[in-house]
């Protein structure tokens, strides 16, 4: 009996510590977005914000973050759509090709995601400059699709493999075309897998910084992460506005985590469990 309550106490302490570790710093930071200028620099710190919106107003008016937000939405949205389209085709093919062959191809595809971005950055930049695609949406979206494809193809292949082939042969007999099968049978069944891959691709494209920094040098084309990294005040660092912009950038992500944590976890650990 004693060891049972000891165990409960240990778990309780662990839960509290983990929650403070994961959320504490983040809450301290984003809550600053709701402080006033005076509160922000006060010593001792004022832990509870006054729920002022002055930093949000200033972030929108003086720093025009609506433009960054729009760029991020266009880039991350398009990346997700294109990756899902190409990933579905490739994942379906890999799930239906002979195992041995599919496995070799899949390892090759996965290997592409292991490489450091810097070893592809120079040539991609040179190519985009050559064709005049620096500071364009397609210039950033295409590399993002290439970088999000491997994990998506992986997740989708695993999902498609679980769909029995008999279902397809039955549909073929009924006169369904190949693409009809993909669209009307495979996709609806594997929607959870497509959705998982889509969430992970979106989060990647929404958060990516390195390539966005290189490719989008024109402030009117920059995405949120670049905007947040390069935020400059006239004399001091505008912490309130940075916190406000960070709050806006992370809000959709936090929302996704709360709603779809099960999917995100299963998608991320797909590799680990199957391996």
């Amino acid at each position: 009996m004693r060891s049972e309550s000891l165990k409960k106490a240990t778990i309780f302490c662990g839960v509290i510590l983990t929650a403070i570790f994961s959320l504490g710093p983040f809450l301290l930071f984003v809550s600053s977005a709701f402080k006033t200028q005076g509160q922000l620099t006060a010593i001792p710190p004022q832990w509870l914000p006054a729920f002022s919106l002055e930093f949000f107003a200033s972030a929108f008016k003086r720093y025009r973050i609506i433009g960054y937000l729009l760029n991020s939405t266009i880039v991350a949205g398009s990346t997700t759509l294109i990756t899902m389209f190409l990933g579905t085709l490739a994942g379906y093919a890999l799930a239906r090709l002979p195992r041995q062959l599919a496995q070799s191809i899949l390892i090759g595809i996965l290997a592409c995601s292991m490489f450091p971005q810097i070893s592809i950055a120079g040539p991609i930049w040179r190519f985009l400059r050559l064709v005049g695609w620096l500071n364009t949406y397609q210039g950033l979206i295409l590399p993002y699709v290439a970088l999000t494809l491997p994990l998506s193809v992986w997740i989708l292949t695993i999902f498609f493999q679980d769909i029995p082939r008999e279902l397809e042969s039955a549909a073929l007999v009924d006169g369904c075309t190949r693409f009809g099968i993909l669209g009307r049978i495979i996709l609806p069944i594997s929607l959870p897998g497509v959705f998982t891959a889509a969430i992970l691709s979106f989060i990647y494209a929404w958060n990516e910084f390195f390539l966005a920094l290189l490719i989008m040098t024109d402030p009117s084309m920059q995405t949120m992460p670049v905007g947040i990294a390069l935020f400059q005040g006239e004399h001091t660092i505008p912490w309130g506005e940075i916190a406000a912009a960070s709050f806006i950038t992370t809000a959709p992500l936090v929302f996704m985590v709360l709603l779809f944590q099960g999917r995100i976890i299963s998608g991320l650990s797909a590799g680990a469990v199957k391996g």
Partner: protein
């Protein structure tokens, strides 16, 4: 019929393969090619003469590059170690059944989900030398003893390591958790009946069975830590005195700030080779049973 099917499957693979070829495989090849040439952005009149191994020779003698390599290794070793340790602890905790478990899992995911740039600004704000909350927690209201954490070489590297641990321990936790969840409950029950203590159950059941998942987390984290960029870029710009000038940041500066495309490519090829060796190790150890478990 079957042959026609196969042709269709290959056709379906073409668009994705072309994109990967064009934006990943070819650029890597071109980086290797460029690393044997002298190429400076903004000085096109130099052409780009072939210089053989000159860039690599220079790199070996470059004190900044050697220092950069050293601190990158320190960063990778320390951050990966603590990420796995914390990840394992969190995974063991979440694997238990308790009220609010789902909520805790969501909390743990938050640091992973937010942009690294936001995490970097967050730590920069909390470590601020004038009114940062960490200084207040350590020194109270005695502002004269506040430390400019990011302006001192040792604490700056430490700060970036802590920021990375905060940001990615949850990823390690998820991978390890996935490994924990496939361990059958009956094993623990049987061990309990045999009188095994908590530590013994961990040592003889949990540990050997989660080693594969730990290995996956270790290699993913090592590979990812080698390409750290966002955190030092935002928090310290590589300073003070190159104390946080990690390899990818140094390569970026050479290529895109100073314009030394050839020399920067040599740096990027070195990072690529290190990561490639790690990846091959990974595929060797884990890739073999990729499909067996899923089928």
């Amino acid at each position: 019929m079957i042959e026609r099917d196969q042709r269709l499957y290959f056709a379906l693979l073409i668009p994705a393969s072309l994109l990967l070829l064009f934006f990943i495989v070819v650029p890597i090849g071109e980086s290797i090619f460029l690393s044997f040439h002298r190429l400076i952005i903004g000085l096109p009149q130099l052409q780009n003469p072939f210089v053989g191994l000159d860039n690599y020779r220079e790199l070996l003698l470059d004190p900044v590059a050697r220092h950069s390599f050293l601190i990158t290794c320190v960063f990778v070793a320390v951050s990966t170690f603590f990420e796995l340790l914390l990840g394992l602890s969190m995974a063991l905790l979440i694997n238990h059944r308790f009220p609010g478990r789902g909520a805790l899992r969501a909390c743990v995911l938050i640091p992973w989900a937010i942009p690294t740039v936001v995490a970097a600004q967050m730590w920069r704000f909390l470590l601020n030398d004038a009114y940062g909350m960490i200084n207040y927690i350590v020194f109270g209201s005695i502002t004269s003893s506040y430390i400019p954490w990011l302006a001192r070489p040792k604490t700056a590297l430490g700060a970036i390591i802590i920021a990375d641990i905060w940001k990615t321990s949850s990823f390690a936790a998820l991978i390890i958790l996935a490994g924990l969840q496939v361990i059958p409950e009956e094993l623990y029950q049987a061990a309990k009946v045999d009188g095994a203590r908590v530590w013994q159950r961990f040592r003889y059941i949990t540990w050997p069975l989660i080693r594969p998942a730990l290995l996956v987390a270790l290699l993913f984290r090592t590979i990812d830590a080698f390409r750290v960029f966002d955190l030092p870029f935002v928090m310290t710009q590589g300073g003070p005195a190159d104390a946080t000038n990690v390899l990818q940041l140094y390569g970026y500066k050479k290529m895109f700030v100073e314009g030394w495309m050839g020399y920067g490519s040599a740096i990027s090829v070195c990072i690529f080779v290190i990561v490639l060796i790690l990846s091959i190790t990974y595929v060797r150890m884990v890739g073999r049973n990729l499909f067996e478990a899923s089928s």
